[in-house]
Structure formats: C-alpha cells, structure tokens
C-alpha cells in the first residue's frame, strides 16, 4: 500500500519536474532579455538572475530614436495589411477549394502546398526582380506583397480544412433562403469560421512581424524599415561596441504586443484548434 503511494508521489514529482524544465527552456531566454534590458550598461556583464532596482534608461534611449518609432509604425502597417489581404484571399480561395467541386481541386491544393516548401532564399533574387519591375523597391508594399505570397499557402490550407468541416447542408440552407455564394460565405459561414480566422490571422501577423530577410533586402531607408531590421541595425558608440541593453529593450518592446495578442485571443485559438465538433 505504501509502495503504491510512494509511486504516485514520485510520478507526480516527475511530472512537475518535467513541466518545470519545459517552462524554464521556453521562458528563460525571454526572461533574461527582459532582465538585461532593465540593467544599466555598467551592470550588463554582472551575471544575476534577479533585479533589485529596474533601470529604464535603455527604453528611454530606444524610444528617443525617431527611426525606431517609424519602424514600429511600418511593421504595424505591413503586418495588418498582410493579415487583411491574406485572410480575404485565402477565405475566398478556401470557399472554392473546400466547397465547390471542380476538376483538379486536389492538384491546386497540392500546388499551393508545394509553393510553400521553397525556402525564402531560393526565391529572393527572383522576387527582387519582380519587385523592381513593379516599382515597389524600398516601399512597404514590397514587403506586403512578398509576405502575402509566403503566408497564403498556410492560410489557404488551414481555412480549406475548416470550411470542409462545416456541414454542407448549412450552406445549402442559405442557398434555399436565397443567398448568393458571397452572402452564404459572409453571413453564414464566416461567423462560424471566426476561431479559425483568428488563429490563422494571428500566425500570419507573427510571421509578418518577425520577418527579417525580405525586410532587409527590399528596403533601403529608415523610413521604410520594419522592426526586425531596425533592431539589427541599432549600433553602439563605436564599431566594436554592441549595445546589448538597447537591443534587448527594443526586442522586448516588439515582443510584448505579440504576447499580449496571443493571450487575448488564447481562448479563441484553442476553440479554433478544436472546431471539429461543430454541430447543429
């Protein structure tokens, strides 16, 4: 009897331990970044895991840079545009792919998936030419275009799956009520797709927000840069000094909005991931 109790306690201990390790692994880098950003540069290389007196000088210094504020504005604009564009295009595409029966539907879906397998670097030079030809070089629209290209396969696939799971009779009922395909999509299917839209939209937002390679390649001036590039280009007083404090403060400032977004929509995301049980 005691042996069984002991076993139970040990298992519980192991479980908690595993969770602790996982949590430490996931959260520690971010925690240390926050810690570093709150230290004055003089205390930067003293290793410590707790802070007695937070020092906000790094944040003040970052916020005083006009180019950084401009970069945040650019990032918000680009990410919001990408999400809006990608959701609109993928919703309409997913409606066609998930609902309308036509020859070659599976081929189209596989093509969409295939496109998403190319690494960014592989299409970089080609995309650069396209953007030059379109006259979009060094503008936010170059980023919106390229991010949308890379986001669409994912959003189309997820939304196609979700639309495919909604009962077909629902849409037919709307058609019997006199709804056009557009009305059936927006007034009947869309309200049921909200969790899926929030999930995919959030992931598209994060991808656009964090993207670095295209942002570095397709923009030239401070006026057009986005946050990841701006952070990378923050430089210290001399060539050999890396301003860790500033970098960390900037990183924390651009990460916190994402964390907040995820927390706000957390319930939606979870229900979005389990929307198979939609019935009646």
């Amino acid at each position: 009897m005691n042996l069984r109790l002991l076993k139970k306690a040990l298992l519980r201990l192991g479980f908690c331990g595993a969770i602790g390790v996982l949590l430490l692994y996931a959260v520690f880098p971010f925690y240390y970044a926050v810690l570093t950003s709150l230290k004055p540069s003089s205390a930067l290389f003293q290793v410590s895991y707790w802070l007695d007196k937070p020092d906000f000088s790094n944040y003040a210094a970052v916020l005083q840079q006009a180019s950084f504020l401009q970069a945040i504005g650019n990032s918000v604009f680009v990410a919001v545009c990408v999400v809006a564009l990608a959701l609109f295009l993928s919703l309409t595409a997913a409606y066609a792919l998930g609902r309308v029966k036509f020859r070659g539907r599976a081929t189209v879906l596989l093509l969409v998936l295939g496109v998403s397998m190319f690494p960014q670097v592989a299409v970089l030079s080609g995309l650069f030419e396209v953007i030059r030809a379109l006259g979009l070089y060094n503008s936010a629209w170059a980023l919106i275009l390229s991010y949308t290209i890379f986001t669409l396969p994912f959003t189309v696939w997820v939304l196609t799956t979700f639309i495919g799971q909604l009962p077909g009779e629902l849409e037919e009922a709307a058609i019997m009520d006199g709804a056009s395909p557009w009305v059936a999509l927006t007034r009947v299917l869309l309200p049921l797709l909200w969790p899926a839209l929030v999930t995919t939209g959030l992931l598209a937002f994060i991808a656009a927000w964090n993207e670095f390679l295209f942002a570095l390649t397709f923009t030239l001036t401070d006026q057009e840069r986005t946050v990841p590039v701006a952070i990378a280009l923050i430089s210290g007083g001399s060539q050999h000094e890396l301003p860790w404090g500033l970098l960390m403060a900037a990183s924390v400032m651009v990460t916190v909005p994402l964390v907040l977004l995820v927390l706000v929509f957390q319930r939606r995301i979870v229900s979005g991931l389990t929307t198979g049980a939609l019935k009646g």
Partner: protein
C-alpha cells in the same frame, strides 16, 4: 393543371446514372412521399426539384413554367434538411427571418411574417434562443419555420424526422400532417420509413435504382403492388414470397408451391406465360390463417414473437427465410407445433420471374371465385 411536372428527368454523376427518365406529375396541395431503399435516388430527386443539383436531361416544370435553369430562390420552394442545418450563430427569430431579410422584405412585414410563422409552429416563446439551446423537436420546428417563412408554393422535406427519437417522431409526424391540412401547401417528402410514407402521403412514389417503380395512393400500393419490389418494400413484417410453378396458364391460374401445394382458380391472368414458368407467390402475414395439423403433416412452427397486440408466428417452409404469419395476441402456438396454412385467396399476389405482378381480375368477389373453383374441380 399540375403544380409540378417532371418530364423524363435524368441525372448523371461521373458516368453513373442516378436517375433515369423520371416522369411524374404532382397536383397542387398534394402531399407526395418519395420512398425507396438507400441509394435509390430519392434524395437526389428532391434536390433536383429544389435546385441544389442540376438536371442533366429532361424538363422540370412548376406551374407550367420550365424552371431547370432557375436559382432555388426563383422557384418558390422551401426545404427542410435532414440535419436541420440551422444557422448556429443566429437566434430562432433570425433563422426564420433570414430568407425574408435577403429578399429585402420591409421590416414591419418581416416581423409580422416571422411572428405568424412562429405562432403556427408554437415557437413564440423561443424566438430569442440560439439553436443550441433548443431540443430536437424544437430545432425541427425551427427548420420548418425557416422553410415556410417565405411562403413557398412547394415545401420539400429531406428525411426530416430521422434524427429524432421514436416518440418525438410520431409527434412531429402528426404535426406535419396537421400543418399540411392547415396550410394546403404542396409538400414533397423523402423518407425511408414506410410508416411515415403510409400515414402522411396522398401519393407515394416508390423509387428503386433510379427509376420509379410505382406511383399511387398508400392503399393502392399496399393492396395492388405492380412489382415484387414494391410488394416487399411496403409492409412490416414484409410480404412472404414463396417460389411457385405455373401448372396451367390461362385467364385464371393454377399454380403449385412446395409449401402450400396446389392453388387453383387464382384471380390472375397468366395466359401470356408458358406452362411450368417459375412464379413467385406473395402473401402478406395478415392474410394467412393457421390451423392445427394432424400428426406430422403441415408446417413446423420455428419461432413465435409475442408483441402484446399481436403475435408473429414463424413457419419453416424449406426456404432460407421462414414464412411469417400475423396472428392474434391470444394465439397459443408453440415452437415445434405443426400447423396448416389457409391463405386468403383473394389477397394473394403473383409475380412472374422478372418480378412483375401478373394482371389481376377486377374485383374478385367471393361468389365468382367459388363458381370458378367448382369449374376447375
């Protein structure tokens, strides 16, 4: 003029012929039920009428107007779906009013129509609820309300009661019958439940493998099935079929079956067939009377099912399936008893080798039958 007319309607899907040359007329205000085994095309036929599926060949006319290429909303039909398909994010009021809203109905008359529909279906108190807060029967009524709200000339039902439990099904069946009586709308109803078909229909259409087997009133179909398929499909327990042989073709048939021996002077015209043709004799369980057989003669009772109101007695006739006989609940047959069968000759059915019913003499009254029997003897 007929309300709805199908003229040689065909439906093909990827080389598979789902419906073949369906021709049918439905009168205004009629309650028509499509029945058939699963996969017979009854739901597809309903969806063709609704406009949810396209017609490959043939014409569909509503009020004399060809509607093949019209959108569902232009046809003046409403449909109740099997899974109800209520809009989960809308209240009952919005579910019923959705079609009216899309038709740009003026707000006041929309409200009146929704309230009136709700009143007819006794949904008045539930108008602000969401579908998930309703019971099965209530959802069913909302689905009907949504189909009725736009006041269509034709109401279509696609197995509307199959998701309900048995008690509720009977209740909703009566409600649909009441609704039909009070609205007078033409209704077309698809089901595989023959009780629903028999009780609701003015006219039953039996479909099999994409074809119409027979159209007629429930009584016609039950008493005068034109084929073995219809005879076996309607009725529970189903009609017994015994293999038989035609001894003497003629205006009145003389046949022999292993189980029943010779049956003479049957009211069927078999002059088109050759002697010794194989036939199939159909007897409904209620058209058999049992009598105790002496000794080892007759047929052996292999099973007795007591149902309270009646008893089904199963008899061994040397076939795969036993012969089923419907007896009074007070009958006291036991397994192993030997019995003799006394079929009601006027209520027998005779089918040829292709399953078609042999032509039957009109109104065979008892006197002529007796005279004929004496003639043979």
């Amino acid at each position: 003029m007929s309300k709805l007319k199908l003229d040689k309607v065909n439906k093909q899907l990827g080389g598979l012929r789902i419906l073949r040359d369906i021709s049918l007329e439905i009168a205004s205000g009629e309650f028509v039920v499509f029945v058939g085994p699963s996969g017979c095309g009854k739901s597809t036929l309903l969806r063709l009428i609704a406009g949810l599926e396209s017609i490959c060949a043939g014409d569909l006319l509503i009020d004399g107007r060809r509607v093949n290429d019209l959108e569902p909303r232009e046809r003046g039909v409403g449909m109740v779906f099997q899974s109800y398909a209520l809009y989960p994010h809308m209240s009952v009021y919005d579910n019923i009013g959705f079609g009216l809203k899309l038709a740009k109905t003026e707000k006041r008359s929309l409200r009146e129509r929704v309230l009136e529909t709700a009143r007819v279906l006794q949904l008045d108190k539930l108008l602000q609820r969401k579908p998930k807060e309703l019971s099965g029967g209530q959802r069913q009524r909302v689905a009907m309300g949504r189909a009725m709200a736009r006041e269509p000339d034709i109401l279509l039902f696609d197995e509307p009661l199959s998701n309900l439990d048995a008690a509720l099904r009977v209740q909703m069946r009566n409600e649909i019958a009441r609704l039909h009586a009070s609205l007078g709308t033409t209704m077309i109803y698809v089901t595989h439940d023959q009780v629903e078909a028999m009780t609701l229909a003015d006219k039953i259409v039996v479909l099999n493998a994409g074809r119409i087997e027979q159209v007629g009133s429930p009584r016609e179909l039950y008493e005068r099935p034109v084929s073995r398929f219809v005879a076996g499909f309607l009725g529970s327990p189903r009609m017994n079929f015994l293999p038989a042989r035609l001894l003497a073709p003629g205006a009145h048939s003389l046949i022999e079956t292993p189980a029943l021996g010779r049956l003479a002077a049957l009211p069927f015209d078999s002059s088109a067939l050759a002697a010794n043709s194989p036939l199939s004799l159909g007897i409904r369980p209620e058209h058999l009377a049992l009598q105790k057989a002496p000794g080892d003669a007759g047929l052996r009772v292999v099973g007795v099912e007591y149902l309270g109101c009646e008893t089904y007695v199963h008899l061994d006739v040397g076939e795969d399936e036993p012969l089923i006989c419907r007896c009074a609940a007070t009958a006291e047959w036991r397994q192993g008893d030997r019995v003799e069968l006394q079929p009601e000759l006027a209520n027998l059915h005779l089918f040829d080798a292709d399953g078609n019913a042999l032509p039957r003499h009109p109104t065979p009254d008892a006197a002529t039958l007796r005279a004929l029997a004496q003639g043979y003897a």
